[in-house]
Symmetry: C2
Subunit: 217 residues, 2 copies
């Protein structure tokens, strides 16, 4: 029995506190199971409350709870990208990737189910939440790169790299979390520099940036 | 009026011929509109037949027709990857990319809608069809690279690049098909070599391969 399940069923909690408790319980379940495999009874049991109580907070049932849990996971993921704008750029990228990969590690099954698509819980709303995280990642990178007005070639390169990182995360989960996370992180950082260097051959803005990154390392 | 729409409504066609006619009509519509925006009436009109006839061939309605059209598009896409195993490897990759990008260009809206996810027409079956195409692309590349037993680092690199190509295609469509397709193709080929070169630093198998590619170019 988990400590959460041992919580007395109807201990008085404030509305916000109760909602968060239910969300935490849902997130813990959705992290390691596909949405198809989580029932509201599971969530109630995990939170140590009754099923009607879950419905009172989430009258839309599992789909509403799933979306709320996803939004809360997306907020958590955005926090991974928060990195002070000091020190070498590639070191900052390494640190953000460390936090991102720890998140992937901690939400393995749910992360896969969400990004693989085709889940019954997937809707245009869940897709929009995931796209919001991708955009946030791209915005963070642009801010760190300190490029005021990124051109289309630079933007495309950064967005392609973000997608490649997502793909790497899914393959990494499939492969039993191999290679070791530190190797994966360094590999992704080196790929970032490599694809920027390719773009630099045909884009002066990216060429200047790659010069800065090289001087900075 | 398109020549197809001018076909007399009940000209006698064989079952297979009629099915293909309906699929072609559906594919033409799904190529440039989101599945949400195509009705069975549109398909009947495009094919120059009655709505009941469409239902007779596709009793599952639009979803069944969409999946059949998708399977037919997936077959077409697989043909893009068919490339004789002769001449420099990167030249072969360029030619396959040319065909792939022509496909993306010719199926722009449908391609976006499908790969963006969150469409009402998306199910675990449509996801499986798309994944099948991705796997076919990876298999083709491995065969051309002539690596008998690709290790996890090489496989991961190739799969990441395929995902990055997909992302590039979607961004390219969003950006009004800029940069010009020839530049995009060369850029993607150079990225392929660049990410393999990064992997080569930590994977002897990929290092050997990159040596071959350099000698071959």
């Amino acid at each position: 029995m988990t400590p959460q399940a041992a919580t007395p069923a109807y201990r008085r909690l404030g509305v916000e506190e109760r909602r968060n408790q239910l969300l935490d319980a849902a997130l813990a379940l959705f992290a390691h199971r596909a949405p198809e495999e989580v029932t509201l009874d599971d969530v109630a049991e995990q939170a140590g409350v009754s099923r009607p109580l879950v419905y009172r907070y989430f009258p839309g049932g599992k789909q509403q709870l799933y979306e709320a849990a996803l939004r809360s996971a997306a907020d958590e993921l955005r926090l991974c990208f928060d990195e002070p704008r000091e020190g070498p750029l590639l070191t900052r990228l390494s640190r953000a990737l460390d936090r991102y990969l720890a998140f992937v590690d901690g939400h393995d099954t749910g992360f896969s189910a969400l990004l693989r698509g085709g889940s019954v819980a997937e809707t245009s709303r869940t897709t929009a939440i995931v796209d919001g995280v991708r955009r946030a990642a791209a915005d963070h990178i642009m801010r760190h790169l300190d490029v005021a007005d990124p051109g289309p070639r630079l933007r495309m390169t950064v967005r392609m790299w973000i997608t490649a990182v997502e793909a790497a995360s899914l393959i990494w989960l499939d492969e039993g979390k191999q290679p070791p996370v530190d190797e994966l992180r360094d590999w992704l950082v080196e790929q970032f520099l490599a694809v920027l260097s390719v773009t630099a051959r045909r884009d002066p803005q990216t060429a200047t940036l790659v010069g800065t990154l090289a001087a900075d390392a």
